[in-house]
């Protein structure tokens, strides 16, 4: 019980009239890499927002570090968030600051450290992602992969206990993908972080994850270690892992049957 950094019980969430989650249970252990997998549009990013307290669930409990996130006051929430880091899909670097200032920003806001110490810390973090030489560049001068690594350096600037990655590998060329995969793994080991990776890049994610959940249709359809999942005989898990175009997880957005749609159109034409 002590080792559960994050515990989600019976979580419900809607966006407008669309049901995103109906009854989700998660347990994330300290010091491990946990992957949340699932096809696009299943609300993986929404789940991260719920964990960070940026969205309120309709029902259910979200506990991070043993604290009930939806019930926290604004101040307590901000305090809690300084223990977590998030790597956003687009990097979300502050475009009006240089790379150095971006990484220094959390330190300047949350610590009373003198500027000389901040400089040392920032350089250490930038070195960890291999971009110490790029410290004076502005975010628009960086490539996508570099921006994501800078964002990673910023996310670990405060030495968080929990790091959440939102699609860290999406849209990367094989080389930067490999670099990122190694980085995530190394950071987790050397800093003793607890990591959550939200992704649909199956092979890369499973190669470094200790435990994985597969989300589909607002529910968790499978969970287990990567080896267990790959050996699973469950049809929908097979579809996702094997990358089959159609199966229990429908390729089509819910709609009336194709024939009905065509027929309805014809009738309109006649009328």
């Amino acid at each position: 019980m002590q080792d559960d950094w994050i515990q989600v019980d019976d979580l419900y969430f809607n966006r407008g009239s669309k049901v995103i989650f109906s009854g989700i249970n998660l347990k994330l252990r300290k010091g491990k890499i946990t992957a949340l997998l699932g096809p696009s549009g299943t609300g993986k990013t929404t789940l991260l927002h719920l964990l960070g307290g940026q969205l309120q669930p309709i029902r259910g409990s979200v506990k991070v570090f043993g604290k009930e996130v939806p019930k926290l006051s604004r101040n307590a929430l901000f305090k809690l968030r300084s223990r977590m880091g998030v790597l956003f899909q687009s990097g979300a670097l502050f475009t009006d600051m240089s790379v150095f200032d971006n990484v220094a920003f959390p330190l300047r806001v949350h610590t009373p450290l003198p500027e000389s110490m901040i400089q040392d810390l920032v350089l250490i973090k930038l070195e960890a992602v291999g971009l110490r030489g790029a410290r004076d560049l502005m975010p628009i001068e960086l490539s996508g992969g570099m921006a994501r690594r800078v964002a990673l350096a910023r996310a670990i600037a405060l030495d968080p206990e929990l790091l959440m990655y939102d699609e860290p590998f999406a849209g990367q060329d094989p080389i930067s993908m490999g670099v990122l995969v190694q980085l995530v793994k190394r950071l987790n080991k050397t800093l003793g972080l607890t990591s959550v990776i939200v992704s649909h890049d199956l092979a890369e994610t499973l190669s470094i994850a200790d435990y994985a959940y597969i989300l589909a249709g607002g529910k968790i359809i499978a969970e287990g270690t990567p080896a267990e999942l790959e050996a699973s005989q469950q049809e929908n898990v097979r579809q996702f892992i094997g990358g089959l175009p159609d199966g229990p997880v429908a390729f089509n957005y819910p709609s009336a049957s194709f024939a009905d749609d065509l027929f309805a159109k014809k009738e309109v034409d006649h009328a």
């Binding site: 009006d96 600051m97 240089s98 502005m138």
Partner: protein
């Protein structure tokens, strides 16, 4: 990245420009210097009819502006219009208690203003006194009406 020094300097000049502009509005445009430094004292005067006299209308003595009208209220006892006159402080001890106040019109169609005529009494007006000798506004339409009715009645 904008140069922080440049930002600070330009915002500073912006504030300065605004301040100078405010001074310009205060002194050159509204002529604040001439009226505000004198202060005022207040006396009351009640009229049977004030015409279109409004708060901030002019008060003149021998044609020179010496104050502004303050409040205009109805006296519920005598059903008269009671006006507060804000006069320049320099006039304390200069206006006798029998000073007359008349409501006059600037030109034929202009605004109403109060014209003061000093009296001969030995005592002088002080803060809060009331003027007794008052003359109501001459209303052009009434004059014309009177003139017409007079001329018709004399004919018959």
């Amino acid at each position: 990245m904008r140069n922080q020094r440049w930002v600070e300097i330009s915002v500073g000049s912006f504030m300065l420009l605004g301040f100078v502009a405010l001074l310009f509005l205060a002194f050159k445009v509204s002529g604040l210097a001439q009226t505000s430094e004198q202060g005022s004292f207040e006396v009351q005067a009640c009229f049977g009819d004030i015409g279109s006299l409004k708060p901030r209308s002019r008060i003149a003595l021998a044609g020179v502006t010496v104050g502004r009208v303050g409040k205009v209220e109805l006296d519920y006892q005598w059903l008269e219009a009671c006006v507060t006159l804000q006069l320049n402080k320099n006039l304390i001890g200069k206006l006798s208690t029998d000073t007359a106040a008349a409501i006059q019109t600037a030109g034929l169609l202009g605004d109403n203003y109060i014209s003061l005529t000093p009296g001969i009494d030995e005592a002088y007006l002080a803060q809060g006194d009331t003027l007794k000798d008052t003359q109501s506004a001459l209303i052009l339409e009434q004059l014309v009406n009177q003139f017409i009715s007079n001329s018709t009645s004399t004919k018959e």
